[in-house]
Protein backbone atom coordinates (compact mmCIF):
# COMPACT_ATOMS: atom_id res chain seq x y z
CA UNK A 1 0.00 0.00 0.00
CA UNK A 2 1.41 3.37 -0.96
CA UNK A 3 2.18 5.85 1.77
CA UNK A 4 -0.56 8.16 0.44
CA UNK A 5 -3.21 5.44 0.51
CA UNK A 6 -2.14 4.35 3.97
CA UNK A 7 -2.27 7.96 5.16
CA UNK A 8 -5.79 8.35 3.81
CA UNK A 9 -6.99 5.19 5.48
CA UNK A 10 -5.48 6.31 8.78
CA UNK A 11 -7.16 9.71 8.70
CA UNK A 12 -8.29 10.52 12.28
CA UNK A 13 -6.66 7.31 13.52
CA UNK A 14 -3.01 8.37 13.16
CA UNK A 15 -2.43 8.20 16.91
CA UNK A 16 -3.26 4.52 16.92
CA UNK A 17 -0.53 3.65 14.42
CA UNK A 18 2.18 3.78 17.07
CA UNK A 19 -0.15 2.35 19.68
CA UNK A 20 -0.20 -1.17 18.29
CA UNK A 21 -1.89 -0.70 14.92
CA UNK A 22 1.33 -0.85 12.91
CA UNK A 23 2.47 -3.99 14.74
CA UNK A 24 -0.86 -5.68 14.07
CA UNK A 25 -0.73 -4.57 10.42
CA UNK A 26 2.67 -6.21 9.97
CA UNK A 27 1.46 -9.44 11.56
CA UNK A 28 -1.59 -9.61 9.30
CA UNK A 29 0.55 -8.95 6.21
CA UNK A 30 1.85 -12.49 6.74
CA UNK A 31 -1.72 -13.83 6.44
CA UNK A 32 -2.73 -12.20 3.15
CA UNK A 33 -0.18 -13.63 0.74
CA UNK A 34 -2.83 -15.61 -1.15
CA UNK A 35 -4.64 -12.45 -2.28
CA UNK A 36 -3.65 -10.35 -5.28
CA UNK A 37 -0.80 -7.97 -4.38
CA UNK A 38 -2.85 -4.77 -4.71
CA UNK A 39 -5.38 -5.80 -2.05
CA UNK A 40 -2.95 -7.46 0.39
CA UNK A 41 -2.08 -4.29 2.35
CA UNK A 42 -5.71 -3.16 2.40
CA UNK A 43 -6.88 -6.44 3.86
CA UNK A 44 -4.02 -6.50 6.39
CA UNK A 45 -4.97 -2.98 7.46
CA UNK A 46 -8.66 -3.95 7.64
CA UNK A 47 -7.80 -6.83 9.99
CA UNK A 48 -5.53 -4.60 12.09
CA UNK A 49 -8.25 -1.95 12.37
CA UNK A 50 -10.84 -4.49 13.44
CA UNK A 51 -8.47 -5.96 16.03
CA UNK A 52 -7.79 -2.43 17.29
CA UNK A 53 -11.51 -1.62 17.31
CA UNK A 54 -12.30 -4.66 19.43
CA UNK A 55 -9.45 -3.76 21.80
CA UNK A 56 -10.57 -0.15 22.17
CA UNK A 57 -14.16 -1.16 22.89
CA UNK A 58 -12.97 -3.11 25.91
CA UNK A 59 -15.14 -6.10 24.97
CA UNK A 60 -15.18 -8.65 27.76
CA UNK A 61 -13.71 -6.17 30.23
CA UNK A 62 -14.45 -2.76 31.62
CA UNK A 63 -16.50 -0.53 29.31
CA UNK A 64 -14.48 1.88 27.21
CA UNK A 65 -14.83 5.57 27.91
CA UNK A 66 -17.22 7.24 25.42
CA UNK A 67 -14.51 8.88 23.29
CA UNK A 68 -12.51 5.65 23.17
CA UNK A 69 -15.63 3.75 22.19
CA UNK A 70 -16.18 6.12 19.28
CA UNK A 71 -12.60 5.63 18.09
CA UNK A 72 -13.23 1.88 18.29
CA UNK A 73 -16.41 2.29 16.25
CA UNK A 74 -14.51 4.20 13.59
CA UNK A 75 -11.84 1.47 13.47
CA UNK A 76 -14.51 -1.21 13.01
CA UNK A 77 -16.36 0.84 10.39
CA UNK A 78 -13.24 1.62 8.39
CA UNK A 79 -12.04 -1.98 8.57
CA UNK A 80 -15.48 -3.05 7.43
CA UNK A 81 -15.45 -0.64 4.50
CA UNK A 82 -11.98 -1.82 3.43
CA UNK A 83 -13.28 -5.39 3.46
CA UNK A 84 -16.43 -4.42 1.54
CA UNK A 85 -14.33 -2.80 -1.18
CA UNK A 86 -11.52 -5.34 -1.39
CA UNK A 87 -12.31 -8.74 0.14
CA UNK A 88 -14.17 -11.72 -1.30
CA UNK A 89 -17.60 -12.32 0.15
CA UNK A 90 -16.41 -15.32 2.21
CA UNK A 91 -13.80 -13.16 3.96
CA UNK A 92 -16.30 -10.38 4.68
CA UNK A 93 -18.68 -12.89 6.20
CA UNK A 94 -15.93 -14.58 8.24
CA UNK A 95 -14.81 -11.24 9.71
CA UNK A 96 -18.36 -10.31 10.64
CA UNK A 97 -18.88 -13.71 12.28
CA UNK A 98 -15.65 -13.27 14.21
CA UNK A 99 -16.83 -9.95 15.69
CA UNK A 100 -20.25 -11.48 16.36
CA UNK A 101 -18.67 -14.31 18.36
CA UNK A 102 -16.42 -11.97 20.37
CA UNK A 103 -19.22 -9.52 21.17
CA UNK A 104 -21.84 -12.15 22.00
CA UNK A 105 -19.36 -13.80 24.38
CA UNK A 106 -18.78 -10.41 26.01
CA UNK A 107 -22.53 -9.77 26.30
CA UNK A 108 -23.00 -13.20 27.88
CA UNK A 109 -20.10 -12.59 30.28
CA UNK A 110 -18.34 -15.64 28.84
CA UNK A 111 -14.62 -15.73 28.00
CA UNK A 112 -14.19 -14.21 24.54
CA UNK A 113 -12.15 -16.09 21.93
CA UNK A 114 -8.75 -14.53 21.16
CA UNK A 115 -9.19 -11.91 18.46
CA UNK A 116 -6.03 -12.29 16.39
CA UNK A 117 -6.30 -16.03 15.60
CA UNK A 118 -9.97 -15.53 14.71
CA UNK A 119 -9.17 -12.74 12.27
CA UNK A 120 -6.20 -14.61 10.81
CA UNK A 121 -8.52 -17.54 10.24
CA UNK A 122 -11.09 -15.17 8.66
CA UNK A 123 -8.48 -13.97 6.17
CA UNK A 124 -8.13 -17.59 5.08
CA UNK A 125 -11.84 -18.05 4.54
CA UNK A 126 -11.61 -17.81 0.76
CA UNK A 127 -8.89 -20.37 0.40
Amino acid sequence: MSVQVLDRELNRLEGLWTDGLSDAYRVYLDSVGHFTPNVQPKLALAAALIEMGVRLQGLGGRAAAPTTLLMGDLCLARGSRLLADNAPLAVQVAFARAVESISSAAASEQPAPATRPLLQSALGASR
Binding site: R12, V54, Q57, G58, L59, G61, R62, A63, A64, P66, T67, L69, L70, M71, D73, L74, L76, A77, R78, S80, R81, L83, A84, D85, L89, Q92, V93, F95, A96, R97, A98, V99, E100, I102, S103, S104, A106, A107, S108, E109
Partner: protein
Protein backbone atom coordinates in the same frame (compact mmCIF):
# COMPACT_ATOMS: atom_id res chain seq x y z
CA UNK B 1 -64.39 -3.03 12.38
CA UNK B 2 -61.21 -3.11 14.45
CA UNK B 3 -60.91 -1.56 17.92
CA UNK B 4 -57.79 -0.23 19.57
CA UNK B 5 -56.66 2.04 22.39
CA UNK B 6 -54.08 4.80 22.52
CA UNK B 7 -52.68 5.17 26.03
CA UNK B 8 -50.25 7.79 27.24
CA UNK B 9 -49.16 9.74 30.31
CA UNK B 10 -49.35 13.52 30.39
CA UNK B 11 -46.85 15.64 32.28
CA UNK B 12 -48.49 19.03 32.71
CA UNK B 13 -51.84 20.50 33.78
CA UNK B 14 -52.59 21.62 30.23
CA UNK B 15 -50.85 19.83 27.42
CA UNK B 16 -51.34 19.23 23.72
CA UNK B 17 -50.21 15.67 23.01
CA UNK B 18 -49.70 14.96 19.32
CA UNK B 19 -51.14 11.49 18.69
CA UNK B 20 -51.00 11.60 14.89
CA UNK B 21 -48.22 9.03 14.59
CA UNK B 22 -49.94 6.75 17.10
CA UNK B 23 -53.08 6.78 14.96
CA UNK B 24 -51.02 6.15 11.82
CA UNK B 25 -49.44 3.16 13.57
CA UNK B 26 -52.89 1.76 14.36
CA UNK B 27 -53.97 2.19 10.73
CA UNK B 28 -50.85 0.44 9.52
CA UNK B 29 -51.25 -2.39 12.01
CA UNK B 30 -54.90 -2.89 11.09
CA UNK B 31 -54.30 -2.94 7.33
CA UNK B 32 -57.12 -0.39 6.80
CA UNK B 33 -56.92 0.81 3.18
CA UNK B 34 -59.96 3.08 2.77
CA UNK B 35 -62.37 4.10 5.52
CA UNK B 36 -62.65 5.98 8.77
CA UNK B 37 -60.99 6.16 12.15
CA UNK B 38 -63.23 7.09 15.07
CA UNK B 39 -61.57 8.57 18.14
CA UNK B 40 -63.23 9.02 21.50
CA UNK B 41 -61.76 10.50 24.64
CA UNK B 42 -62.41 8.23 27.63
CA UNK B 43 -62.27 11.15 30.07
CA UNK B 44 -64.28 14.26 30.91
CA UNK B 45 -61.20 16.47 31.14
CA UNK B 46 -59.43 15.29 27.99
CA UNK B 47 -60.40 16.80 24.64
CA UNK B 48 -59.56 15.97 21.04
CA UNK B 49 -58.56 18.57 18.46
CA UNK B 50 -57.13 18.73 14.93
CA UNK B 51 -54.88 21.70 14.36
CA UNK B 52 -51.32 22.80 13.58
CA UNK B 53 -48.47 21.60 15.75
CA UNK B 54 -46.60 24.85 16.14
CA UNK B 55 -45.31 25.52 19.66
CA UNK B 56 -46.31 29.17 19.86
CA UNK B 57 -49.76 28.44 18.47
CA UNK B 58 -50.24 25.76 21.12
CA UNK B 59 -49.41 28.38 23.74
CA UNK B 60 -52.05 30.62 22.16
CA UNK B 61 -54.60 27.83 22.49
CA UNK B 62 -53.61 27.29 26.10
CA UNK B 63 -53.95 31.04 26.76
CA UNK B 64 -57.36 31.08 25.12
CA UNK B 65 -58.61 28.22 27.30
CA UNK B 66 -57.22 29.93 30.41
CA UNK B 67 -58.94 33.20 29.54
CA UNK B 68 -62.32 31.63 28.83
CA UNK B 69 -62.33 29.27 31.81
CA UNK B 70 -59.70 30.41 34.34
CA UNK B 71 -58.72 28.04 37.15
CA UNK B 72 -60.20 28.80 40.59
CA UNK B 73 -62.90 31.13 39.28
CA UNK B 74 -65.53 29.97 41.77
CA UNK B 75 -66.89 26.92 39.94
CA UNK B 76 -69.84 25.29 41.73
CA UNK B 77 -68.31 21.90 40.86
CA UNK B 78 -65.40 22.81 43.15
CA UNK B 79 -67.65 23.60 46.14
CA UNK B 80 -67.34 20.29 47.97
CA UNK B 81 -69.66 21.51 50.79
CA UNK B 82 -72.56 21.34 48.32
CA UNK B 83 -71.67 18.19 46.40
CA UNK B 84 -72.53 14.61 47.33
CA UNK B 85 -70.53 11.43 46.73
CA UNK B 86 -67.18 13.19 46.89
CA UNK B 87 -64.14 10.93 46.49
CA UNK B 88 -61.23 11.40 48.91
CA UNK B 89 -58.99 12.40 46.03
CA UNK B 90 -61.59 14.54 44.25
CA UNK B 91 -59.70 17.20 42.30
CA UNK B 92 -60.59 20.88 42.15
CA UNK B 93 -61.08 20.94 38.40
CA UNK B 94 -64.27 22.78 37.45
CA UNK B 95 -62.22 24.83 35.00
CA UNK B 96 -60.96 21.67 33.26
CA UNK B 97 -64.51 20.34 32.71
CA UNK B 98 -65.62 23.71 31.37
CA UNK B 99 -62.64 23.85 29.01
CA UNK B 100 -63.45 20.37 27.76
CA UNK B 101 -66.95 21.58 26.88
CA UNK B 102 -65.30 24.02 24.45
CA UNK B 103 -63.44 21.20 22.71
CA UNK B 104 -64.73 17.90 21.43
CA UNK B 105 -64.48 14.46 22.97
CA UNK B 106 -64.75 12.83 19.53
CA UNK B 107 -63.21 12.93 16.07
CA UNK B 108 -63.74 11.09 12.81
CA UNK B 109 -60.77 10.99 10.45
CA UNK B 110 -60.66 9.66 6.91
CA UNK B 111 -58.24 7.07 5.56
CA UNK B 112 -57.42 6.76 1.86
CA UNK B 113 -55.03 4.27 0.30
CA UNK B 114 -53.82 3.23 3.74
CA UNK B 115 -52.90 6.78 4.76
CA UNK B 116 -54.49 9.10 7.28
CA UNK B 117 -56.04 11.92 5.26
CA UNK B 118 -54.70 15.07 6.89
CA UNK B 119 -53.80 18.45 5.47
CA UNK B 120 -50.17 19.42 5.38
CA UNK B 121 -50.38 21.38 8.63
CA UNK B 122 -52.89 19.22 10.44
CA UNK B 123 -52.03 17.12 13.46
CA UNK B 124 -54.32 15.26 15.81
CA UNK B 125 -54.07 16.25 19.45
CA UNK B 126 -55.28 14.82 22.71
CA UNK B 127 -55.75 17.92 24.83
CA UNK B 128 -54.97 17.37 28.50
CA UNK B 129 -56.94 19.79 30.66
CA UNK B 130 -56.34 18.41 34.15
CA UNK B 131 -52.95 16.69 34.10
CA UNK B 132 -50.69 15.13 34.73
CA UNK B 133 -52.59 11.88 34.36
CA UNK B 134 -52.65 8.51 32.64
CA UNK B 135 -55.01 8.84 29.65
CA UNK B 136 -56.82 6.64 27.14
CA UNK B 137 -58.42 7.29 23.79
CA UNK B 138 -60.63 4.63 22.23
CA UNK B 139 -60.22 4.01 18.52
CA UNK B 140 -62.36 2.16 16.02
CA UNK B 141 -61.27 1.59 12.45
CA UNK B 142 -63.90 0.85 9.84
CA UNK B 143 -63.85 0.38 6.08
CA UNK B 144 -61.99 -1.76 3.56
CA UNK B 145 -59.02 -3.65 4.93
CA UNK B 146 -56.16 -5.12 2.92
CA UNK B 147 -56.83 -8.84 2.59
CA UNK B 148 -53.23 -9.73 3.28
CA UNK B 149 -51.97 -6.88 5.36
CA UNK B 150 -49.45 -9.30 6.82
CA UNK B 151 -47.65 -9.15 3.49
CA UNK B 152 -47.46 -5.36 3.24
CA UNK B 153 -43.85 -4.24 2.73
CA UNK B 154 -43.65 -2.89 6.28
CA UNK B 155 -44.79 -6.26 7.60
CA UNK B 156 -42.08 -8.02 5.62
CA UNK B 157 -39.46 -5.91 7.40
CA UNK B 158 -41.01 -6.59 10.79
CA UNK B 159 -41.07 -10.32 10.07
CA UNK B 160 -37.45 -10.21 8.91
CA UNK B 161 -36.38 -8.27 12.00
CA UNK B 162 -38.16 -10.76 14.25
CA UNK B 163 -36.62 -13.68 12.32
CA UNK B 164 -33.10 -12.32 12.68
CA UNK B 165 -33.51 -11.59 16.38
CA UNK B 166 -34.94 -15.06 16.96
CA UNK B 167 -31.72 -16.80 15.92
CA UNK B 168 -29.35 -14.60 17.96
CA UNK B 169 -28.01 -15.39 21.45
CA UNK B 170 -30.46 -14.07 24.01
CA UNK B 171 -27.83 -11.89 25.71
CA UNK B 172 -27.69 -9.69 22.62
CA UNK B 173 -31.13 -10.35 21.12
CA UNK B 174 -33.19 -9.39 24.17
CA UNK B 175 -31.93 -5.80 24.49
CA UNK B 176 -32.12 -5.26 20.73
CA UNK B 177 -35.63 -6.75 20.60
CA UNK B 178 -36.78 -4.31 23.29
CA UNK B 179 -35.37 -1.42 21.32
CA UNK B 180 -36.82 -2.55 17.98
CA UNK B 181 -40.23 -3.35 19.47
CA UNK B 182 -40.40 0.05 21.16
CA UNK B 183 -41.09 1.55 17.75
CA UNK B 184 -39.17 4.04 15.70
CA UNK B 185 -40.30 5.49 12.42
CA UNK B 186 -38.55 2.84 10.25
CA UNK B 187 -37.79 5.57 7.73
CA UNK B 188 -34.55 4.02 6.55
CA UNK B 189 -36.10 0.60 5.81
CA UNK B 190 -39.01 2.34 4.09
CA UNK B 191 -36.57 4.16 1.85
CA UNK B 192 -34.79 0.90 1.04
CA UNK B 193 -38.04 -0.84 0.16
CA UNK B 194 -39.38 2.00 -1.95
CA UNK B 195 -36.21 2.50 -3.94
CA UNK B 196 -35.77 -1.27 -4.35
CA UNK B 197 -38.97 -1.25 -6.39
CA UNK B 198 -37.71 1.28 -8.93
CA UNK B 199 -35.35 -0.72 -11.13
CA UNK B 200 -36.12 -3.75 -13.33
CA UNK B 201 -35.11 -6.28 -10.65
CA UNK B 202 -37.82 -5.86 -8.02
CA UNK B 203 -37.54 -8.56 -5.34
CA UNK B 204 -39.57 -7.62 -2.21
CA UNK B 205 -38.04 -10.37 -0.07
CA UNK B 206 -34.47 -9.36 -0.80
CA UNK B 207 -35.46 -5.73 -0.28
CA UNK B 208 -36.93 -6.62 3.12
CA UNK B 209 -33.70 -8.41 4.09
CA UNK B 210 -31.66 -5.34 3.17
CA UNK B 211 -34.15 -2.99 4.85
CA UNK B 212 -34.08 -5.01 8.09
CA UNK B 213 -30.27 -5.09 8.08
CA UNK B 214 -30.14 -1.31 7.62
CA UNK B 215 -32.57 -0.89 10.51
CA UNK B 216 -30.44 -3.17 12.73
CA UNK B 217 -27.37 -1.15 11.81
CA UNK B 218 -29.15 2.08 12.67
CA UNK B 219 -30.26 0.66 16.02
CA UNK B 220 -26.73 -0.56 16.77
CA UNK B 221 -25.44 3.00 16.31
CA UNK B 222 -28.22 4.28 18.58
CA UNK B 223 -27.19 1.88 21.35
CA UNK B 224 -23.63 3.26 21.32
CA UNK B 225 -24.88 6.86 20.93
CA UNK B 226 -27.07 6.50 24.00
CA UNK B 227 -24.11 5.33 26.07
CA UNK B 228 -21.95 8.21 24.80
CA UNK B 229 -24.73 10.77 25.40
CA UNK B 230 -25.64 9.22 28.78
CA UNK B 231 -29.27 9.18 27.62
CA UNK B 232 -31.58 7.51 30.13
CA UNK B 233 -34.43 6.85 27.68
CA UNK B 234 -34.95 5.96 24.04
CA UNK B 235 -38.42 5.60 22.52
CA UNK B 236 -39.93 5.96 25.99
CA UNK B 237 -37.96 3.06 27.47
CA UNK B 238 -34.65 2.87 29.32
CA UNK B 239 -31.70 2.75 26.94
CA UNK B 240 -29.69 -0.46 26.70
CA UNK B 241 -26.82 1.21 28.59
CA UNK B 242 -29.19 2.39 31.34
CA UNK B 243 -30.97 -0.95 31.64
CA UNK B 244 -28.10 -3.40 31.12
CA UNK B 245 -24.95 -1.41 31.83
CA UNK B 246 -22.39 0.06 29.45
CA UNK B 247 -20.42 -3.17 28.97
CA UNK B 248 -23.49 -4.99 27.66
CA UNK B 249 -24.53 -1.99 25.56
CA UNK B 250 -21.17 -1.84 23.83
CA UNK B 251 -21.22 -5.59 23.14
CA UNK B 252 -24.81 -5.52 21.81
CA UNK B 253 -24.01 -2.58 19.54
CA UNK B 254 -20.91 -4.34 18.22
CA UNK B 255 -22.78 -7.58 17.65
CA UNK B 256 -25.46 -5.96 15.49
CA UNK B 257 -22.94 -3.74 13.77
CA UNK B 258 -21.17 -6.93 12.65
CA UNK B 259 -24.31 -8.93 11.99
CA UNK B 260 -25.93 -6.21 9.87
CA UNK B 261 -22.71 -5.88 7.89
CA UNK B 262 -22.74 -9.64 7.29
CA UNK B 263 -26.41 -9.75 6.28
CA UNK B 264 -25.80 -6.99 3.75
CA UNK B 265 -22.69 -8.72 2.38
CA UNK B 266 -24.61 -12.00 2.06
CA UNK B 267 -27.14 -10.32 -0.23
CA UNK B 268 -24.29 -10.52 -2.71
CA UNK B 269 -24.41 -7.10 -4.36
CA UNK B 270 -20.98 -5.42 -3.98
CA UNK B 271 -22.38 -1.97 -4.80
CA UNK B 272 -24.90 -2.25 -1.98
CA UNK B 273 -22.27 -3.50 0.47
CA UNK B 274 -19.93 -0.62 -0.34
CA UNK B 275 -22.68 2.01 -0.21
CA UNK B 276 -23.74 1.00 3.30
CA UNK B 277 -20.14 0.51 4.51
CA UNK B 278 -19.20 4.03 3.38
CA UNK B 279 -22.24 5.45 5.15
CA UNK B 280 -21.42 3.63 8.36
CA UNK B 281 -17.89 5.02 8.32
CA UNK B 282 -19.31 8.53 7.85
CA UNK B 283 -21.71 7.99 10.77
CA UNK B 284 -18.86 6.93 13.08
CA UNK B 285 -16.53 9.76 12.01
CA UNK B 286 -19.26 12.36 12.50
CA UNK B 287 -20.11 11.02 15.91
CA UNK B 288 -16.53 11.82 16.95
CA UNK B 289 -16.91 15.34 15.52
CA UNK B 290 -20.23 15.72 17.31
CA UNK B 291 -18.72 14.96 20.70
CA UNK B 292 -15.68 17.14 19.99
CA UNK B 293 -17.96 20.08 19.13
CA UNK B 294 -19.58 19.98 22.56
CA UNK B 295 -16.54 21.85 23.86
CA UNK B 296 -17.73 24.86 21.86
CA UNK B 297 -21.43 24.28 22.45
CA UNK B 298 -23.79 25.11 20.73
CA UNK B 299 -21.41 25.53 17.77
CA UNK B 300 -22.23 27.08 14.41
CA UNK B 301 -24.31 26.16 11.38
CA UNK B 302 -21.35 25.02 9.29
CA UNK B 303 -20.19 22.53 11.92
CA UNK B 304 -23.79 21.42 12.43
CA UNK B 305 -24.26 20.70 8.72
CA UNK B 306 -20.99 18.77 8.54
CA UNK B 307 -21.93 16.57 11.49
CA UNK B 308 -25.53 16.00 10.41
CA UNK B 309 -24.53 15.10 6.86
CA UNK B 310 -22.37 12.33 8.25
CA UNK B 311 -24.29 11.28 11.32
CA UNK B 312 -27.83 11.23 9.92
CA UNK B 313 -27.96 11.99 6.22
CA UNK B 314 -25.32 9.49 5.11
CA UNK B 315 -27.44 6.49 6.14
CA UNK B 316 -30.56 8.00 4.56
CA UNK B 317 -28.59 8.49 1.33
CA UNK B 318 -27.19 4.96 1.54
CA UNK B 319 -30.65 3.52 2.18
CA UNK B 320 -31.96 5.18 -0.99
CA UNK B 321 -28.92 4.31 -3.10
CA UNK B 322 -28.66 0.72 -1.87
CA UNK B 323 -32.32 -0.03 -2.58
CA UNK B 324 -31.95 1.37 -6.09
CA UNK B 325 -28.72 -0.56 -6.64
CA UNK B 326 -30.42 -3.76 -5.48
CA UNK B 327 -33.08 -3.29 -8.15
CA UNK B 328 -30.49 -2.64 -10.88
CA UNK B 329 -31.70 0.93 -11.36
CA UNK B 330 -29.65 3.03 -13.81
CA UNK B 331 -26.73 5.04 -12.35
CA UNK B 332 -28.46 8.40 -12.86
CA UNK B 333 -31.43 7.16 -10.81
CA UNK B 334 -29.13 5.86 -8.07
CA UNK B 335 -27.37 9.23 -8.01
CA UNK B 336 -30.61 11.22 -7.84
CA UNK B 337 -31.95 9.03 -5.04
CA UNK B 338 -28.70 9.30 -3.12
CA UNK B 339 -28.95 13.11 -3.26
CA UNK B 340 -32.64 12.93 -2.33
CA UNK B 341 -31.76 10.82 0.72
CA UNK B 342 -28.96 13.17 1.75
CA UNK B 343 -31.22 16.24 1.65
CA UNK B 344 -34.06 14.38 3.33
CA UNK B 345 -31.72 13.19 6.10
CA UNK B 346 -30.59 16.72 6.94
CA UNK B 347 -34.18 18.01 6.89
CA UNK B 348 -35.25 15.09 9.08
CA UNK B 349 -32.58 15.94 11.65
CA UNK B 350 -33.65 19.59 11.69
CA UNK B 351 -37.24 18.53 12.32
CA UNK B 352 -36.00 16.20 15.04
CA UNK B 353 -34.15 19.10 16.67
CA UNK B 354 -37.37 21.12 16.77
CA UNK B 355 -39.17 18.33 18.64
CA UNK B 356 -36.99 19.13 21.67
CA UNK B 357 -38.77 22.48 21.94
CA UNK B 358 -42.29 21.18 21.35
CA UNK B 359 -44.46 20.85 24.46
CA UNK B 360 -46.70 18.32 22.74
CA UNK B 361 -44.29 15.83 21.23
CA UNK B 362 -44.69 13.28 23.99
CA UNK B 363 -40.96 13.60 24.74
CA UNK B 364 -39.49 15.62 27.62
CA UNK B 365 -38.68 19.15 26.49
CA UNK B 366 -35.11 20.40 26.60
CA UNK B 367 -33.45 16.96 26.68
CA UNK B 368 -31.05 17.90 23.88
CA UNK B 369 -30.16 21.11 25.72
CA UNK B 370 -29.54 19.22 28.94
CA UNK B 371 -27.31 16.70 27.17
CA UNK B 372 -25.64 19.39 25.06
CA UNK B 373 -26.63 17.66 21.84
CA UNK B 374 -25.96 19.56 18.63
CA UNK B 375 -29.16 21.41 17.69
CA UNK B 376 -29.82 23.95 14.95
CA UNK B 377 -32.60 25.85 16.81
CA UNK B 378 -30.17 26.34 19.67
CA UNK B 379 -27.43 27.54 17.32
CA UNK B 380 -29.81 30.07 15.79
CA UNK B 381 -31.11 31.19 19.19
CA UNK B 382 -27.51 31.69 20.37
CA UNK B 383 -26.92 33.89 17.30
CA UNK B 384 -30.12 35.89 17.89
CA UNK B 385 -29.54 39.55 18.68
CA UNK B 386 -32.22 39.64 21.38
CA UNK B 387 -32.03 36.29 23.19
CA UNK B 388 -28.54 35.23 22.04
CA UNK B 389 -26.49 36.74 24.87
CA UNK B 390 -28.61 35.12 27.56
CA UNK B 391 -28.70 31.77 25.73
CA UNK B 392 -24.92 31.75 25.40
CA UNK B 393 -24.47 32.74 29.04
CA UNK B 394 -26.79 29.95 30.23
CA UNK B 395 -25.13 27.33 28.02
CA UNK B 396 -21.71 28.31 29.34
CA UNK B 397 -22.73 27.35 32.86
CA UNK B 398 -24.20 24.32 34.62
CA UNK B 399 -27.53 23.27 33.13
CA UNK B 400 -30.03 22.41 35.84
CA UNK B 401 -33.82 22.25 35.44
CA UNK B 402 -34.20 26.01 35.82
CA UNK B 403 -31.55 26.84 33.24
CA UNK B 404 -32.82 24.25 30.74
CA UNK B 405 -36.36 25.62 31.13
CA UNK B 406 -35.14 29.16 30.55
CA UNK B 407 -33.13 28.15 27.47
CA UNK B 408 -36.14 26.38 25.93
CA UNK B 409 -38.30 29.44 26.65
CA UNK B 410 -35.75 31.69 24.98
CA UNK B 411 -35.50 29.42 21.93
CA UNK B 412 -39.27 29.23 21.48
CA UNK B 413 -39.68 32.99 21.92
CA UNK B 414 -37.04 33.73 19.26
CA UNK B 415 -37.17 33.32 15.50
CA UNK B 416 -35.01 30.19 15.72
CA UNK B 417 -37.75 27.59 15.27
CA UNK B 418 -39.49 29.24 12.28
CA UNK B 419 -36.05 29.72 10.72
CA UNK B 420 -35.15 26.03 11.13
CA UNK B 421 -38.56 24.94 9.88
CA UNK B 422 -38.20 27.10 6.77
CA UNK B 423 -34.76 25.69 6.12
CA UNK B 424 -36.00 22.11 6.54
CA UNK B 425 -38.86 22.72 4.11
CA UNK B 426 -36.44 24.23 1.58
CA UNK B 427 -34.29 21.10 1.84
CA UNK B 428 -37.37 18.96 1.22
CA UNK B 429 -38.15 21.05 -1.87
CA UNK B 430 -34.60 20.47 -3.05
CA UNK B 431 -34.94 16.73 -2.37
CA UNK B 432 -38.17 16.62 -4.35
CA UNK B 433 -36.46 18.51 -7.17
CA UNK B 434 -33.86 15.74 -7.38
CA UNK B 435 -36.64 13.30 -8.27
CA UNK B 436 -37.97 15.33 -11.16
CA UNK B 437 -35.45 14.45 -13.84
CA UNK B 438 -35.39 10.65 -13.46
CA UNK B 439 -37.84 7.83 -14.17
CA UNK B 440 -39.09 6.36 -10.89
CA UNK B 441 -41.67 3.84 -12.06
CA UNK B 442 -44.62 5.70 -10.50
CA UNK B 443 -43.04 6.00 -7.05
CA UNK B 444 -42.37 9.76 -7.18
CA UNK B 445 -45.57 10.75 -5.28
CA UNK B 446 -44.80 8.25 -2.50
CA UNK B 447 -41.22 9.49 -2.13
CA UNK B 448 -42.44 13.09 -2.11
CA UNK B 449 -45.09 12.27 0.50
CA UNK B 450 -42.55 10.48 2.66
CA UNK B 451 -40.20 13.45 2.50
CA UNK B 452 -42.91 15.94 3.43
CA UNK B 453 -44.15 13.72 6.27
CA UNK B 454 -40.60 13.42 7.64
CA UNK B 455 -40.53 17.10 8.56
CA UNK B 456 -44.24 17.58 9.33
CA UNK B 457 -44.15 15.91 12.68
CA UNK B 458 -43.75 16.45 16.32
CA UNK B 459 -42.41 13.17 17.53
Amino acid sequence: MIAARVEFATERATEFVDITDRIRDEIRRSGLRDGRVYLQSMHTTLGIAVNENEPLLLRDFQGLLERIAPAGAGYQHDDFTRRTDIQLDEPVNGHAHCRQLLLSAFATLLVADGELLLGRWQSVFAVELDGPRQRRIAIQLDGEFARESRHAPESLVEVELARQLMVDPEAVAAPMRRLVEAGGKRLRPKLVQLTAAIGPRNDPLRAAELAAAVELLHNATLIHDDYVDESPYRRGRPTVAAAEGPERAIAVGDYYFAKATRLIAEIGNPGVTSAVAEALEAVCASQIDDVALRGAYPGDRESYMRVVRGKTASLFAAACASGALLSDAPPEVVGALRRYGDLLGVAFQMADDMVDFSPSSGKPMGLDVRQRVLSLPLIYAAEDRVVGPEVRQLLAGTLGDKEVGRVTDLVTSSEALPRVRKEALELIDAAVHELESVELDGLRPTLIGLARAAVDRSS
